[in-house]
């Protein structure tokens, strides 16, 4: 291919699609290269779509996008590994009113839909092609990409790296280091099919309404991690993720954790009889602000997962991906309009735009959390199990007086964690999350 483009986008996930769409719509010549058979076939997410980030790009997406259910209820469950589960839920049927702020989606369908828009906007999208490296000139400026295809070098004035969490292209070019095991969570997930009516009965929801269940506690066997159960239209997504360094330490396989979650008595009746149609896995970069690589340089920008833009605390990623992809594109559009070159100095406007957005503000807010959880993994295990035992004690009416029950609970708590230890946990928790 001898053609030269203004911009090449590597990858067709939310970040790459947001970037390619924004660029193409502004009349910039764009080549987007995706390694999957079609966009979406390599992409894995829970998946929750937050409307705001997509709305900025495509205001009336609700009319056309393949959305599963809008969320009206969020349950937070603290489980022990055996039989108990404490939880809170927030249900708001007001969430049924348009515009809905979040939806469950099936990524293979959603990404394909988004990619069709990218194509319609005028970008050239090539599937089934893996980018193997970056082309650079004598000064080190990125001038294009190398693909595995014969004669597969393509030139561009700028390359947007949106190749996902493993970020191989950026790594190979020395633009970033590999993600580290102690900064990464591995999540595994199954898609379980169940008739629509049965889902609505079991979860107490109406047509189009959805429930999100986030699960923490001993279900991760003391490792830092969480589980989830989401309702799609006629399927459920169930998954669990833990820090990779914890899996190593405990020698527990990810599929054993998932099986433990599926068999938990609070989950089992909800998924009973469902047909498992897919098993997927995905790494999540949890290093947060302190682990971010450099996000731009001469002729290149990094967006989404490949840049580590993940808010692990709030389980957000695809919205940060879409926003960063859009901001990268807008930076290039603005420079092109001014006739300015895509130098590192000029592309620093992308970083400034990110800094001014919720993306960096949120990452900065929780900058201390990854270290806190790494150093205090017990907070996710000990407290939920204490809460469950306290609930069991108080809810068991057996003729024992309540003050005695209260003393038992306090004794149980002190045995697990000293008063000073708890105060320390509370202080460190507050410092990390404030």
């Amino acid at each position: 291919m001898s053609e030269k483009f203004d911009v090449i986008v590597v990858g067709a996930g939310p970040a790459g699609n947001a970037a390619a769409y924004t660029l193409a719509r502004a009349g910039v010549s764009v080549l987007q290269i995706e390694r999957g058979e079609t966009p979406g076939t390599k992409n894995v997410q829970g998946a929750i779509l937050y409307s705001h980030a997509l709305e900025e790009i495509f205001p009336d997406f609700r009319k056309h996008a393949p959305l599963e259910r809008h969320i009206i209820e969020q349950r937070m469950w603290l489980m022990d590994e055996g039989q108990a589960c404490t939880g809170v839920s927030y249900r708001d049927d007001g969430f049924t009113a348009m515009p809905h702020h979040r939806y469950t989606i099936i990524r293979a369908r959603f990404d394909r839909w988004f990619s069709d828009l990218v194509r319609e906007a005028g970008a050239m999208v090539i599937n089934e092609t893996t980018v193997t490296g970056l082309l650079r000139d004598g000064s080190g400026k990125v001038t294009g990409v190398r693909t595995e295809r014969a004669g597969g070098d393509v030139l561009a004035d700028a390359v947007i790296l949106a190749d996902g969490v493993n970020s191989l292209v950026g790594q190979r070019a020395g633009l970033r280091k590999d993600i580290r095991a102690e900064h990464s969570a591995l999540a595994v997930k199954e898609t379980l099919f169940l008739p629509k009516e049965l889902i609505e009965q079991r979860f107490g929801i109406g047509d189009g309404q959805g429930v999100v269940i986030e699960i923490a506690g001993r279900i991760t066997h003391g490792m830092v991690g969480t589980g989830f159960l989401y309702t799609n239209r006629d399927s459920l997504a169930i998954g669990i993720g833990c820090m990779v360094s914890d899996l190593l330490r405990r020698t527990i396989t990810p599929y054993q954790l998932l099986e433990g979650l599926k068999r938990h008595p609070a989950v089992k009746p909800l998924i009973e009889g469902a047909a498992m149609k897919e098993y997927a896995a995905h790494l999540i970069a949890e290093g947060g602000y302190k682990a971010l690589p450099k996000l731009y340089g001469d002729g290149w920008l990094m967006v989404g997962d490949s840049a580590g833009l993940i808010n692990g605390v709030h389980r957000e990623g695809s919205n940060l991906a879409m926003t960063s992809g859009r901001l990268a594109a807008e930076t290039l559009i603005e420079l092109k309009k001014r006739g300015a070159a895509f130098t590192a100095a000029n592309l620093s406007a992308y970083k400034s735009a990110l800094d001014d957005s919720y993306v960096m503000k949120d990452l900065k807010k929780y900058a201390a959390v990854p270290d806190f959880l790494h150093e205090n993994p017990h907070v996710l295990g000990a407290y939920p199990s204490l809460l469950n035992r306290a609930a069991r004690e108080m809810l068991t009416v057996d003729g024992v007086d309540k003050r005695t029950k209260q003393s038992r609970i306090l004794a149980d708590v002190r045995q697990k964690r000293s008063l000073l230890g708890m105060l320390g946990d509370a202080y460190r928790f507050w410092r990390a999350f404030k």
Binding site: R35, G36, E37, G40, T41, K42, N43, V44, Q45, A47, E81, G82, I106, R107, A108, R109, D111, N127, E128, T129, T130, E148, R149, V165, N166, L168, D178, I179, R180, A181, S184, L186, V188, E190, T191, R218, H221, S235, V244, L247, L248, T251, I252, T253, P254, Y255, Q256, L257, L258, E259, G260, R263, M276, K277, E278, Y279, A280, A281, H282, L283
Partner: protein, 99 residues
């Protein structure tokens, strides 16, 4: 609960539900030096691989990438950097129906 009381899971049954286009004879992940795996005491790849692609064999490690979910975990857990990890050729590997 201890690790020993965890459920026994046949991960191959799960993988059977997935769609793959295997690039026969061109595995996208390779072991750089077999001897390095032989000397490795912890063999984290075997524990962490969500698809069970890494197996213990004769004290060493055997890798079959056909069921790979392309997550990248084996690469990041290998302290000596003995995993030569690449994306499969375009169009090959796992093809998620739902993702």
């Amino acid at each position: 609960m201890t690790a020993s009381s965890l459920p026994v899971v046949n991960v191959e049954e799960k993988l059977f539900q997935n769609r793959y286009r295997v690039d026969a004879g061109r595995p996208h992940i390779r072991i750089r030096q077999q001897a390095t795996c032989g000397r490795c005491e912890t063999k984290p790849c075997i524990v962490c691989c969500p698809a069970g692609c890494w197996r213990l064999e004769d004290g060493g490690v055997d890798l079959v990438v056909d069921g790979c979910l392309e997550c990248g975990t084996c690469r990041i857990v290998c302290a000596p950097g003995n995993v030569d990890w690449n994306y499969p050729r375009g169009g090959f590997g796992v093809l998620f129906k739902f993702g």
